[in-house]
């Protein structure tokens, strides 16, 4: 178990290296630099700025320097926000994204999971078909449509909740963005759980449990739940990637001070270090999630545990 985790962590390093290299090379290949502007700077000033950020060095020196800093966990200084490091910017924006993304994931898992289970136990009836049609609608309407509509209804028409802005620790400000972010994932999870639960409920060990005369509730919750969770767990990796992308949209629509906003403005201003840093962070999050997924497999299925 410990060896499995260690091996996986070790194999994550080359992956992170690829991501960092990809982001670094792509950004430096693009036309335009971070200090291009309409004003022509005095050559000395231009030169001293470039020297400060090591932009006057050959590209391979810059690359090695970046990797060296990265190995120490230092993502470098931001070009755009003077005197602020990328680490500080991420530390500022991260709590917002964690709050919204975490709430959304939790909502989607609880809500989608229970809808899927309930639909599976009533497969074929209207109590299955109605929520599943809604789920199909949920995965078909993109985030950037539902988010403005939610604002229109709950913030502008009904005036129940604020239409954006961010007050740390206030659930009223948290609710609308998290619900908007959670909706498509709730729909996905409901569909995945339903089809997995139907398959699990048709398997022989469930028939055995039924034959023993166990009550339906304990058959579903104690016996069918674990195999049902397997496909759900493999969805967590793509789900995290989706939440990261979604949070960029959500931050834009609701005007929230998260990382996604830095990401887009950073790209617009050729802020190499900021964009590379956030890309590496996203990659590390996805790698961590994939490792968690594999550990969950082992927990859910003893056959996998033996192989690990």
């Amino acid at each position: 178990m410990l060896r499995f985790v260690l091996r996986r962590l070790l194999s994550a390093l080359p992956t992170l290296l690829v991501i960092a290299t990809l982001a670094f090379v792509l950004l430096h290949l693009t036309p335009g630099g971070p200090f291009d502007s309409d004003r022509v700077l005095v050559p000395q000033i231009q030169h001293s700025i470039e020297a400060r950020f090591h932009l006057d060095e050959p590209l391979w020196r810059q690359y090695l320097r970046y990797l060296g800093d990265l190995a120490h966990g230092d993502l470098g200084p931001s070009f755009q926000y003077r005197n602020t490091s990328v680490n500080e910017l991420i530390a500022q924006g991260m709590p917002v994204d964690l709050a919204i993304g975490g709430t959304a994931m939790l909502l989607a898992l609880l809500l989608g999971g229970s809808i899927g289970l309930l639909a599976a136990t009533r497969a074929g009836s209207w109590r299955d078909r109605l929520p599943m049609s809604l789920a199909m609608l949920g995965i078909s309407v993109p985030l950037f449509v539902t988010a403005p509509l939610l604002i229109l209804v709950f913030a502008i028409q009904l005036q129940w909740l604020p239409a954006g802005d961010w007050v740390s620790g206030s659930w009223r400000h948290l609710l609308l963005p998290s619900v908007a972010l959670a909706l498509p994932f709730t729909a996905y999870i409901a569909r995945i759980v339903r089809s997995a639960a139907i398959e699990a409920l048709a398997s022989p060990f469930i028939r055995a449990a039924r034959a023993k005369g166990l009550p339906a509730r304990s058959i579903v919750l104690r016996h069918a739940l674990k195999p049902t969770l397997m496909p759900l767990v493999s969805f967590l990796g793509p789900a995290l990637a989706g939440v990261l992308t979604g949070s960029i949209v959500i931050e834009q629509v609701f005007g929230l001070p998260g990382i996604g906003r830095y990401f887009v403005t950073g790209a617009l201003n050729r802020d190499y270090t900021l964009v590379t840093g956030i890309t590496v962070l996203y990659g590390a999050l996805i790698i961590a999630m994939n490792l968690l997924v594999d550990l969950c497999y082992g927990w859910l299925d003893p056959r996998v545990r033996a192989r690990q």
Partner: protein, 287 residues
């Protein structure tokens, strides 16, 4: 037709099962209607998608005006613009899906059929690429290179082939172990011919299903890029950019948001239903 008197091929059986699903017939019909409309309407309409008309700003949808979907803030006919948006979205969706299917099938069959070290190398690459946050990267690239339509294709194709490659590899390994492959090899068929004549046809059902499900996700991604202002160039519109424009006007003129959003949702909904129906129809375990 009685299957006992006349044999029924696997494709015929799949088609029969496909047609038996009501949701599939509806989805196919609606999608066909939208395709026909978006081909015909811009050709027949007296309006075009680009020319502003300062005397017709923000006309509400009405039958009498001739502007059935109303007009936008520049007085352009929303019907024509939405139809152009459907054209662009469907085109991007189909083209990028084809790219990803081609790469994914080639990659997956190579890994699954050759196996061994090649398989390890190819699939490790896929694992690594899975961890790359592509969508943020594409957003960055779009910003940096300016809105390049070709880049959207390439980027989307590059992101979405990973799933197909994984699925195709697994299926190819299963097919490889069948005795008809051994028989074909024993008869002296060369490897490329075996792959082309025996492996690919058996993958086809699976690939069709996943290609159908890739199209809506690609359309959504293109719409997302357009929503962020990184997709098609104005004055051309995709459904995503129309939704983005509509979202800015939603308080005063909600129809500008609702109509393109409804078309986008309908197209995605139909394609998702179609994919589900195809999966049920092509899965030999059913029936």
């Amino acid at each position: 037709m009685n299957p006992l008197t006349r044999g029924e091929g696997p494709w015929q059986r799949s088609w029969r099962r496909f047609q038996a699903q009501r949701s599939a017939r509806w989805a196919l019909g609606l999608l066909g209607l939208i395709v026909a409309l978006c081909l015909l309407v811009p050709a027949l309409s007296p309006h075009d998608y680009a020319t502003p008309s300062w005397t017709h700003i923000f006309r509400r949808p009405s039958w009498r005006d001739g502007a059935w979907f109303g007009t936008d803030g520049l007085g352009r006919d929303l019907l024509v613009r939405v139809m152009w948006g459907c054209r662009i979205s469907l085109l991007v969706g189909i083209a990028a899906s084809l790219v990803s299917v081609l790469i994914g099938v080639a990659w997956g069959t190579a890994a699954g059929y050759i196996g061994g070290r090649t398989d390890g190398l190819l699939m490790r690459t896929v694992d690594v690429l899975y961890s790359v946050p592509f969508i943020p990267l594409v957003i960055v690239l779009e910003v940096l290179f300016g809105r390049n339509f070709l880049l959207v294709f390439v980027a989307i194709g590059a992101v979405s082939w990973l799933d197909i490659a994984r699925i195709v590899r697994g299926q190819t390994m299963a097919i490889r172990s069948h005795s008809y492959i051994e028989a074909a090899l024993a008869l002296g068929l060369r490897t490329p011919a075996v792959i082309w004549r025996h492996v690919i046809p058996n993958l086809l059902g699976l690939v069709i299903v996943y290609a159908t499900l890739t199209v809506p996700s690609v359309i959504l991604f293109e719409a997302l890029l357009s929503f962020l202002g990184l997709g098609v160039q104005a004055p051309l519109a995709s459904l995503g950019s129309l939704v983005a424009d509509g979202a800015n006007e939603m308080q005063a003129n909600p129809y500008l948001l609702v109509i393109p959003a409804a078309f986008l949702a309908t197209i995605i909904l139909c394609l998702n239903y179609l994919g589900d129906a195809l999966r049920d129809a092509l899965d030999p375990r059913h029936d």
